[in-house]
């Protein structure tokens, strides 16, 4: 007959069997990083939608809309101008192509939580 489990046994159930975590292929990542950025996937409709959204935001800023001015996501003026150069991003209105490479530079060689 099996021994009865101690009172604290079973606090931890075994993990369910599952596939091993995937390891990204460093070569594939390099290829992906060097891929030219295209906006085709976003689609003309989406671009048009964001152009309209930007125009609305610009109009709110121009009219001094306090809600727009206080909301960081619609902040007016030069809030986005800090990092336009070199990353293809500007704080102006209009439909934007996606720019990449704006994250990760500081973390080169970073080894997580150590």
């Amino acid at each position: 007959m099996a021994d009865p489990p101690p009172p604290h046994f079973g606090r931890r159930a075994p993990p369910e069997p599952r596939p091993a975590p995937r390891r990204p292929d460093p070569q594939a990542l390099k290829r992906k990083r060097s891929t030219t950025v295209a906006v085709g996937a976003v689609g003309l409709l989406a671009l048009g939608g964001f152009a309209v959204a930007d125009q609305i935001r610009a109009r709110n800023c121009a009219s001094g809309d306090s809600a727009a001015a206080n909301d960081a996501s619609t902040r007016c003026g030069g809030a986005g101008g800090h990092f336009g150069a070199g990353h293809g991003w500007s704080s102006g209105g209009g439909a934007e192509a996606a720019a990449f490479g704006g994250f990760g530079a500081t973390g080169h060689g970073f080894a997580g939580g150590e």
Partner: protein, 258 residues
């Protein structure tokens, strides 16, 4: 608490390969060392370690609450001014946290002493949640540990349960510097937990986070509404996109207050 010698599994290399665990550093030196083990009593776990963990976490949240309402304190903590509003908004929304890791010094002879609270980018999670558990199971099955031996950790189950709570209905993006094995392994594990919680996920490199107007997007043009990032907040805010208005449109795990 006792530290005692423990036998190494002769077939550990095969075990590591099976579960996708990297058991060696790039230079071939062993990463995983199971030649010793630490034995705790339930009282040590519950009265000392878990109690201290809960109390320190509570104090941490108390500090965030104070800082979110006190610019002088934010300045003293050297939080950049352009991040103050984002931190305060995140705290007011109670943006959820997934996990953190306390590093303690503890010998069972007194209360644990805090070395570090890594609340933003803890790694070594797969080791603690899965690799250790399988070690316990295998040594018990081979008669090398008492049959009633247990692991005082339920990290794996709690991670899945927590993803169920905080996942929302959105696709969750997972990002880190994928060239770092520690980070990509931890990220893959957490993404796997999220999938086991029934969530839709996508993994990417930090460099593959794009900026399109006031949105963060992935290479496929999908808006990044929720982002788990294994990348420190101080670096994220210092990076080129860190001051972007798009930062306010994405929900981050861990949240900004961490």
């Amino acid at each position: 608490m006792r530290r005692e010698p423990s036998p190494q599994r002769p077939d550990f290399a095969a075990e590591a390969a099976q579960i996708g665990f990297r058991d060696r550093f790039d230079d071939g030196a062993p990463y995983w060392d199971e030649t010793v083990r630490y034995v705790f009593t339930l009282e040590e776990i519950e009265s000392d370690l878990e109690t201290a963990t809960a109390e320190l976490h509570r104090l941490n949240l108390e500090l965030v609450d104070r800082a979110a309402r006190d610019e002088a304190l934010l300045k003293r903590l050297r939080i950049p001014e352009y991040a103050w509003d984002l931190i305060a908004a995140s705290w007011r929304r109670r943006d959820p946290s997934l996990y953190g890791r306390f590093d303690f010094s503890y010998d069972g002879g007194g209360p644990p002493k805090l070395l570090e609270y890594n609340a933003d980018t803890p790694t070594a999670l797969y080791e603690a949640a899965v690799v250790q558990w399988r070690w316990l199971e295998q040594l018990t099955a081979r008669g090398l540990l008492p049959r009633d031996a247990d692991q005082f950790s339920s990290a794996h189950e709690k991670l899945i349960a927590r993803w169920r709570e905080i996942g929302g209905g959105d696709l969750i993006h997972f990002a880190c510097n994928q060239s770092e094995a520690d980070d990509s392994g931890t990220l893959a594990y957490l993404e796997d937990c999220a999938r086991q919680a029934g969530l839709a996920t996508a993994a990417l490199d930090m460099g593959d986070i794009g900026l399109a107007g006031v949105r963060l997007v992935d290479r496929g043009g999908r808006t990044i509404r929720r982002l788990f990032k294994l990348y420190p907040w101080e670096w994220m805010l210092a990076d080129a996109f860190g001051r972007s208005p798009a930062m306010a449109a994405t929900r981050f795990v861990e949240p900004r207050g961490r």
